[in-house]
């Protein structure tokens, strides 16, 4: 027989696993719903247990009921913590993706590509819940608003201390033409350039270029 909190525990295990993954595993819609349902059922239990007492329940007179109430009370709160932890772990991951400049469409595409290849455009393969997709977009807006106030800094830039102004890069994927202060460079696959790091940082982060040396 499943015990109170078993489902919550599963969620926490999912969350724990997610922490060590580079991608986001599919959202556990059913599990979240089941844990939420458990909370509502427990709350109903509490209400029906308390009903005969008409608000004058004395824990020391009826210790068995008091104990049941306490267990229910704690189980509800525990489930809530599990749900919060699960969702927070995932939003943390989502925020990390936003900082790295990922796109919500990229994300859905990656997932579908990994699971069932061709069904990329159906949207069914997305590992995000609809709420998470909203969150992802809204956080992206929030971050660009904050970034916009530091236009000269490029907040999402590299957190490695800069060593050289210029670096050697190899082009991994065609990235088209970019404008630098030394003129335009056409980035075609497999070519190699000596460029200013600040000009290409974004492209390195997105995987178009590889830093050499």
């Amino acid at each position: 027989m499943p015990m109170y909190g078993d489902l919550g525990n599963k969620l926490v295990q999912h969350a724990k696993r997610t922490q060590n993954l580079t991608h986001l595993p599919p959202y556990q819609t059913e599990l979240v719903r089941a844990v939420t349902r458990e909370v509502r059922d427990l709350d109903k239990d509490v209400a029906s247990l308390l009903e005969p007492f008409q608000g004058s329940f004395d824990p020391s007179a009826d210790q068995a009921t008091a104990c049941t109430l306490l267990v229910n009370h704690l189980s509800m709160r525990r489930n809530k913590r599990c749900l919060l932890a699960y969702h927070r772990t995932r939003t943390d991951k989502l925020e990390e993706l936003v900082w790295n400049g990922s796109d919500v469409l990229d994300l859905a595409g990656q997932q579908a590509g990994g699971v069932n290849g061709a069904a990329a455009d159906s949207g069914a393969g997305s590992s995000l819940s609809p709420q998470e997709e909203d969150y992802f977009r809204q956080y992206g807006d929030l971050l660009s608003a904050y970034k916009g106030q530091w236009t000269d800094i490029d907040l999402t830039g590299s957190l490695e201390p800069p060593r050289d102004l210029f670096i050697d890069v190899r082009v991994l994927k065609d990235a088209g033409e970019i404008q630098t202060e030394y003129g335009a460079i056409n980035l075609t696959k497999n070519s190699q350039f000596y460029v200013r790091q600040g000009d290409v940082e974004r492209l390195i982060a997105q995987g178009y270029l590889q830093k050499l040396g």
């Binding site: 925020e95 998470e132 969150y135 809204q138 956080y139 904050y146 530091w150 102004l165």
Partner: protein, 221 residues
């Protein structure tokens, strides 16, 4: 004001250090401190970041002006300026990101009292408030709204345990004494007292180091 401030005022070398250089020192110090301290430190209030932003803008303009010049001498200067600019930018970026990371981790804590809110810059406050609202909405639409009403709060303190996590003020930091000062620090079994000489470095709990750092008697390293 103590004796050092008075000495500094009559010291001819103090005012001869250009503002830009002092700003850079201040930024570097704030950056190191922010990265070492377990909790968010106060946002520099004296317009430091406005000045830094202006400096960066000026340098960017200078770089743009100099770029057209083909003289090798200018070219060399250009590289020096650009390298310096990149480093300056890195400092600001790393500083801001360190703060954002702390704010994200304990958002509700930093928004909970006026005293804590005062540590955030206006922009950070707007960011933190909005971020918390987004998270709360996300929880609500994902599961919280179907909870019983008395369980929907995010700031309960049931059974003496608050839902709001706070930074660990007891974690260890290294500090360097900027002048001779006595220091007392709590240990696990016994407390310790020591007389620090200028530039001595010790490790102790942040909760004990905090007042020294805030008074400017010591700095984080």
């Amino acid at each position: 004001m103590d004796i050092d401030d008075i000495l500094r005022e009559v010291d001819p070398t103090f005012h001869s250090i250009p503002q830009e250089k002092r700003d850079l020192q201040e930024l570097t110090r704030a950056w190191i401190a922010e990265r070492s301290a377990p909790e968010l430190l106060a946002w520099p209030a004296d317009g430091l970041f406005e000045r830094i932003n202006d400096n960066i803008k000026q340098q960017i303009e200078k770089v743009e002006e100099m770029t057209g010049d083909m003289d090798p001498k200018t070219n060399f200067a250009l590289i020096v300026i650009q390298t310096e600019l990149e480093r300056y930018r890195y400092l600001v970026r790393s500083y801001l990101r360190a703060r954002i990371a702390k704010i994200d981790r304990h958002t509700l804590h930093y928004l909970s009292t006026d005293e804590l809110r005062a540590r955030l810059s206006e922009m950070e406050l707007a960011y933190a408030t909005r971020h918390q609202a987004l998270l709360h909405n996300h929880y609500l639409s994902s599961f919280l709204s179907s909870f019983p009403a008395n369980l929907q709060n995010l700031n309960d303190a049931a059974a003496g345990i608050s839902m709001i996590e706070t930074p660990d003020l007891e974690s260890a930091v290294f500090i360097r004494a900027l002048k001779d000062t006595p220091v007392e620090a709590r240990g696990v079994d016994t407390d310790a007292y020591a007389d620090l000489k200028e530039s001595d470095i010790v490790i102790l709990r942040w909760a004990d180091a905090k007042k020294l750092v805030e008074a400017g008697t010591a700095e984080l390293v």
